[in-house]
Amino acid sequence: MVLLTEAEAKALLQKVLSYSKADECVVNLSGGERGNIRYARNEVSTSGSTINQNLQVLSAFGKKVGVAAIDEFDDASLEKVVRRAEELAQLAPENPEYVGVLGPQQYLKSAGYFESTAKITPAARAEAVAKSLAVSGNQKLAAAGFLEDYRGYSAMMNSKGLFAYYPSTNVNFSLTVRTDDGTGSGYVTRGYSDFSKLDTVSATKIAVEKCLGSVGARALEPGKYTVILEPTAGVVLLENIFFGMDARSADEGRSFLSKPGGKTKLGEKIVDERVTIFSDPTNPELPASPWAGDGQPQEKINWIEKGVVKNMAYSRFWAQKKGVKPVPFPSNVIMAGGTASLDDMIKSTQRGILVTKLWYIRSVDPQTLLLTGLTRDGTFYIENGKIKHPIKNFRFNESPVIMLNNLEALGKPERVVSTESNSNYLIPPMKIREFTFSSLSDAV
């Protein structure tokens, strides 16, 4: 019952809507299964799986709106949840921001469901981990890792005949390898929609290489340095731009996209002209839902094009108020890059620092998007186009907006997992000048 096909989901949603007596009704449905295996100190610590299904009903009488949800799908429960939403709507004050439901929509095609991932068994998870442990175990290192997979779907239908369905799968793998004496540490993470692409052996070799290579780190003076940010490091900074594209906050004057006098930076160049950040749910490397939770189509859209703010996200209410087309928050984000490999970028660097991972990123000033955090699990000094030696970790204080103005070069984008949000993105490695490191850390 958990993973409904498109036809089954449609039938269930039609049944729920048939109980509705409200002016308008929207039903959102989702179901999925998550499995995981966790290990530390070279042995499995926990493993498990959870199954979830949820159905949420929004009922509206004029602008009075009520929402109720349920996780049981028998007929009595389904009717009960509709009645409950209607009761809550009758009791609710008018919501001036309610804009009514959408009519039927056309969606792009996006292939995000892979049988290889959907069929993962506990044995397959254990096998993937065993292969990884065999690599790190050979080197007498301490490995701690986590593999988590998901298969599920979401669907919706409303009283104006809109129907949407999207099944998807995902697997994230992460691994930290440390030397037994705690003087070296390396990390790797991989995210795919298709489990058959996950190669835990090659991933583990990267973590092992970083771990062994980070032993004997020397201290550099904090200050401004040219850095090469591997995608795993860069994405946790860029995410703060992605999450900050809301038009309402910008219009209200409380965003990095705000300007004095209630104006915004829409249409203005805010970063280097080589920066283009866009969304495309149909991208085969990063397939994503072609519709937003309220039924709006997710289209290919440029947020920042050649350094210029091209679009911001407008909720349907805010778009109506401002007289513009609504733009939902995207289901994926991609940053365009170049063709250079990470090695090419290192070779072209006279003096700089290779940052492979950043950790505990927190906002310091939302006005400038100033962030703080630290390097972790492998930071290296580059001289005359070569990695010279590992260096001790730094704390940084930097804004991704300033950083993208100090852009030197972009490499080839690759799919990465954010260590802050667990979301997957396509991000290039970036070479940045004058990146601000403010203090040293003794952490390994």
């Binding site: 998550r34 995981n36 530390a40 100190r41 070279n42 042995e43 499995v44 610590s45 926990t46 493993s47 498990g48 959870t50 949420q56 929402v67 949800a69 349920i70 996780d71 506990p122 254990a126 301490a142 701690a144 986590f146 988590e148 992460s174 691994l175 930290t176 440390r178 705690g182 004057g253 409380r254 990095f256 705000s258 300007k259 004095p260 006098g261 950790w359 505990y360 990123i361 927190r362 906002s363 310091v364 000033d365 939302p366 006005q367 400038t368 998007l369 703080t372 630290l374 972790r376 970790n393 704390r395 204080n397 804004s399 300033i402 403010s438 040293l440 850390s441 003794d442 952490a443 390994v444």
Partner: protein, 529 residues
């Protein structure tokens, strides 16, 4: 790690949050079915948690209610040891003995399957059974009994006061949690507990239309292990000073009024000059520094490497503890763990593996003396009894080691905040928690705050902005020179502390009195984009 998304259950009607859960006698029958089933299948130890988790969140902005969420989650988790290996299984909405017995059998099967992968069998510290016992949070007013309308009215009044006092925008939220947990184990314990938590929060934003600059100020409340009574502040709960701070009762309306004015004041406040300052840290701020630089590094599972792939490890390694002379802080610094502190988020009668809660020292007169551990770890510390730090955020999550309330003991000599400030030549007085970040071994940290006041020659000289301080844990705690006395002792805390993969949240308090740290590095965070 802070912050995180809260865990939700299914949505229910607000009235459902007042319906009683299963009767204790029924829960005992369900538990016995699981205990017997696991034993019959070869488990050497079994525990079962029957949990009902109720949550209510009311969210508003300006004159609008944005969301009212009522959720209930009910289920059963069974944990066993078979062949020296843990196994865990859970089942949603289990109300029959057949269901709990089946979950126990599944847990046994998982333990048997995993047993071939372990190198060391589990060494579980012995624990006596307590028989049939219960514990109830000493609340005066159950927040779930207060009508939604009263809560909405409070928040809209709060928002109105903010707007009238100069705020351009205001968001306010009430978080309320009730955990009804029944624990039974093969040690002979049957423990019924009723836990309540409450957190009123807001954020006001003030904007200068000419410059386009904006500033915010968030609440000075603390999340508490209390009922709705936390929102009824008596005069004795208020700490007068440059701004009012709160102890066991919170005046949200008064705080938001001050916040709106202070957010406006911040717009024209002086930008701090970077350099070394003596810091005077209010408990509404210091709790977070304690949480990150003491609470987390002294979690034994981090020390051992179990969190290496996510939250990290710890600088406070076992050799430092074994040396008996690792200097964590100055002589004034006494840090303790306490799961019995009344009104705290972590207070319960027994933890999630049936250990009676207690208080113990972590750092005594500056020296590292202990960690936080659970039953399968304490043998590493040479102890025979667990400290009672086991917690799971749901019936469906496996319990593991979580932070106890970790607090800084008040100073023994009488000292008021005013007296402390009088003695500071060049300093900054920081109130409220702000930006925070610390490395994965808990050496290097950076903290912001809500309110910053410059101290010049013993006097408060005005408001500052763009302030953050950076330090190293050991250096920082060794720069502690003075701690105000018991009269100033207050709790702060986190409602959503995250740890583990998949991540689980827990709520934890940290107490302190206002404390002085000398010569700390302050940076200026102003930038132009």
């Amino acid at each position: 790690m802070l912050p995180n998304s809260p865990v939700f259950g299914r949505s229910v009607a607000p009235e459902a949050l007042l319906e009683p859960g299963l009767e204790v006698a029924v829960k005992k029958r369900l538990a016995d079915a699981a205990l017997n089933a696991a034993k019959a299948k070869g488990a050497s130890y079994t525990d079962i948690r029957i949990g009902r988790y109720l949550r209510q969140f009311v969210t508003t902005r300006e004159d609008k209610v944005q969301n009212i969420v009522n959720t209930e989650s009910f289920g059963v988790g069974v944990r066993v040891i078979v062949d020296g290996c843990w196994g865990f299984a859970s089942v949603v909405d289990a109300k029959s003995e057949a269901q709990t017995a089946k979950a126990a059998e599944e847990a046994v099967a998982i333990a048997k399957a995993n047993a071939r992968l372990i190198k060391q069998p589990v060494q579980l510290a012995p624990q006596k059974g307590f028989g049939e016992v219960s514990w109830k949070a000493p609340i005066k007013k159950n927040a779930f009994e207060v009508p939604i309308k009263e809560k909405v009215d409070l928040l809209l009044t709060v928002n109105d006061a903010a707007l009238k006092n100069g705020a351009n925008y205001v968001n306010s939220v009430l978080f309320m949690v009730n955990e009804q947990k029944y624990f039974a184990s093969s040690d002979g314990s049957y423990i019924d507990q009723d836990i309540h938590r409450m957190w009123p929060t807001f954020r006001v934003t003030a904007i200068d239309p000419k410059t386009g600059k904006f500033e915010t100020r968030s609440e000075l409340s603390a999340p508490m292990g209390m009922g709705y009574d936390y929102l009824q502040a008596n005069p004795s709960d208020k700490i007068a000073g440059i701004t009012t701070r709160y102890n066991k009762g919170y005046d949200m309306l008064e705080d938001v009024t001050a916040a709106a004015r202070q957010a406006k004041q911040k717009l024209t406040a002086k930008s701090v000059e970077a350099g070394k300052y003596d810091l005077v840290l209010d408990p509404s701020h210091l709790w977070l520094t304690i949480h990150e630089s003491v609470g987390h590094p002294l979690e034994l599972d981090r020390v051992l490497g179990y969190e290496a792939n996510f939250a990290g490890t710890s600088f406070a390694t076992l050799d430092k503890w074994k040396s008996k002379n690792f200097n964590y802080g100055s002589k004034q610094v006494n840090l303790f763990a306490d799961k019995t502190q009344v009104g705290s988020l972590g207070a319960v009668g027994w933890d999630d593996e049936g250990v009676a809660c207690k208080k113990w020292d972590l750092v005594k007169e500056g020296t590292l003396v202990n960690y936080q551990a659970i039953r399968d770890q304490v043998h590493i510390l040479g102890e025979t009894e667990s400290q009672g730090c086991c917690y799971a955020d749901s019936w469906g999550s496996v319990q593991f080691q979580r932070m106890a309330n970790v607090s800084l003991a008040a100073g023994k000599t009488p000292l008021s905040v005013e007296q402390m400030i009088k003695d500071v030549k060049k300093g900054i007085y920081i109130i409220g928690d702000g930006s925070f970040s610390i490395d994965q071994q808990r050496y290097n940290f950076q903290f912001g705050g809500q309110l910053f006041y410059e101290i010049k020659n013993g006097q408060i000289a005005g408001m500052l902005k763009d302030v953050a301080y950076q330090s190293n844990t050991q250096e920082f705690w060794n720069s502690c020179t003075q701690i105000c006395d018991e009269r100033d002792y207050r709790l702060g805390g986190s409602f959503f502390d995250g740890k583990g993969q998949p991540m689980q949240v827990s709520a934890v308090s940290h107490g302190s009195s206002t404390t002085r740290f000398n010569g700390v590095n302050v940076i200026n965070t102003a930038r132009k984009i």
